[in-house]
Amino acid sequence: MSEHEYVPKSKAGKWFNDRLPLLTLGAHLTDYPTPKNLNYWWTFGGILTFCLITQIVTGIVLAMHYVAHADLAFASVEHIMRDVNYGWLIRYIHSNGASMFFLAVYIHIFRSLFYGSYKSPREVIWIIGLMIYLLMMAAAFMGYVLPWGQMSFWGATVITNLFSAIPLVGDSITTWLWGAYSVDNPTLNRFFSLHYLIPFLILGLVVLHIWALHVPGNNNPVGIDIKKPSKDTVPFHPYITIKDAFALLVFMIIFAGFVFFTPNVLGHSDNYIPANPLITPAHIVPEWYLLPFYAILRSVPDKLGGVILMFSAIFILFVLPWLDTSKVRSAVFRPIYRQFFWILVIDVLMLGYVGAMPAEGIYLVLARVGTVYYFLHFIVVMPVVGYLEKTDPIPMSISEPVLTGGAEPSLARKVNDKV
């Protein structure tokens, strides 16, 4: 944290701060020097914090009315929708909130990928972020099981069966996860318990995520190191808070659009049929935010292979800071990588699309092509392009392109001269 000496004005404030320096922390967060060129892609950290708080608050309220029992869960959700005062609103905020949370987190992750925010010295921020993302997926999956509809039940069956692919101990692990010999009441009970727990784990990791961020400070669109504080920075409050607040308002308009006008468009109608262990719905699909991984799973004709590849698709991101060999952070100055970045974006969107389609014919071919590119991008493209690419000149400071009307070569330094 920055080394500024903060002294509270009031005597009481000073007395308290000497015993617990909360006011110093508050002053640090207010004055925190932030790069002055942050664009709107940087507002998603604040938006994500809003999403987490929204999910926790609406979730705690829903838990006051929900019953985690296989015989009663479905009816209790309908009870929330029909009988509980504003229950429909709270539930729709919670269920759509999950989608909005993932929408924001994907933009946040791709922001990092574009501007190289995962690169040194910010690797730990990136890894904590991925842990948050993993916990989000676990929480979302278990939350989707709680209404105990057909998609809940069969989604839970398919996902827990992924663990049965593990050699030797797979079946024991699956039975252990279920607490029964199939997805059943014990499964629902424990999923509810964990679904309630995970958001608070995420909250703890968010604190670490922000703490780790405040050590080196924010990356920025030009991706260069800056002196803090300097003419390249502005205090977090009010400059960034007002920008974050505006972006959040726009985000909330979209969020409200889903909640009030198409609350079920992102869900699946089969989940309004109570769970039936004897009938599998004709077409099982996970929630949209898991579809790319589902496509990767299905692209492999081997059970264990598919499971391994799907988990690898997530875990490969953990070593990304060491796969990227480029000395330049921001893709703004990386003409080759920039193109591959957009190919990756299209690739992931395509995987998401084919994940929602039946695993046959052209969709299977596309899923396989998409899967191969996904891994090639990280294992081959990132190290090789970073090594071979001739990057554009990067500016000396954030102010320079602003004051001189462009990154003039005379003022700019080549990357290769640096470090």
Binding site: T157, N161, S182, I279, T280, I284, A359
Partner: protein, 173 residues
């Protein structure tokens, strides 16, 4: 000098002993916390089911629930049995004779866990390319003996432990 060394060694011993006892204690506490998630006595108590099969017509099947999972009980026609036995073992991803999947002398009765061995969906009967079952989730095809023929499932549908109590009743589990 030697005195000092002796002191250090003694302290090392205490540290090691403390860590060891601590680890044993933590392990002793963790195991109950893990094992509580395994199926409880009430779940285990549901381990057997008796089914009356007298009303099943040849070529038809019923589905019953055992341990929360569907069991397919199919009375196969002689043609279906012949078809299942005509398959060469080399054509099977998980080679198993049809004879080994039924009780001797009760060849018409196929009793199996109606759970796709891929990711646990319930396959649909009389569907798929092999006149048996088809799993709609990820496209696994099973034959009339419940053996995997095509698709991502690694093994044949499982045959549970069962016995004929009398000619009209079977006990599963």
């Amino acid at each position: 000098m030697s005195k000092e060394e002796k002191k250090v060694n003694r302290r090392d011993f205490l540290f090691t002993a403390s860590y060891t006892i601590g680890a044993v204690g933590v392990g002793a506490v963790i195991w109950p916390m893990i094992d509580q998630m395994n199926p409880d006595k009430a779940q285990q108590a549901l381990a057997t089911t008796e089914v009356d099969i007298s009303s099943i017509e040849p070529g038809k099947s019923i589905t019953v629930l055992w341990r929360g999972k569907p069991i397919f009980i199919k009375k196969r026609t002689p043609e279906e049995i012949a078809e299942a036995r005509a398959v060469k073992l080399d054509d099977l991803p998980d080679p198993q004779k049809d004879e080994d999947r039924v009780k001797e002398g009760k060849d018409e009765w196929l009793v199996m866990l109606g759970v796709c061995t891929h990711l646990g969906c319930v396959p649909l009967k009389d569907k798929g390319e092999f006149n048996g079952w088809f799993c709609p989730c990820h496209g696994s095809h099973y034959d009339v003996s419940g053996r995997i023929r095509k698709g991502p499932a690694p093994t044949n549908m499982e045959i549970p432990k069962f016995e004929f109590v009398d000619s009209n009743t079977i006990k599963i589990g």
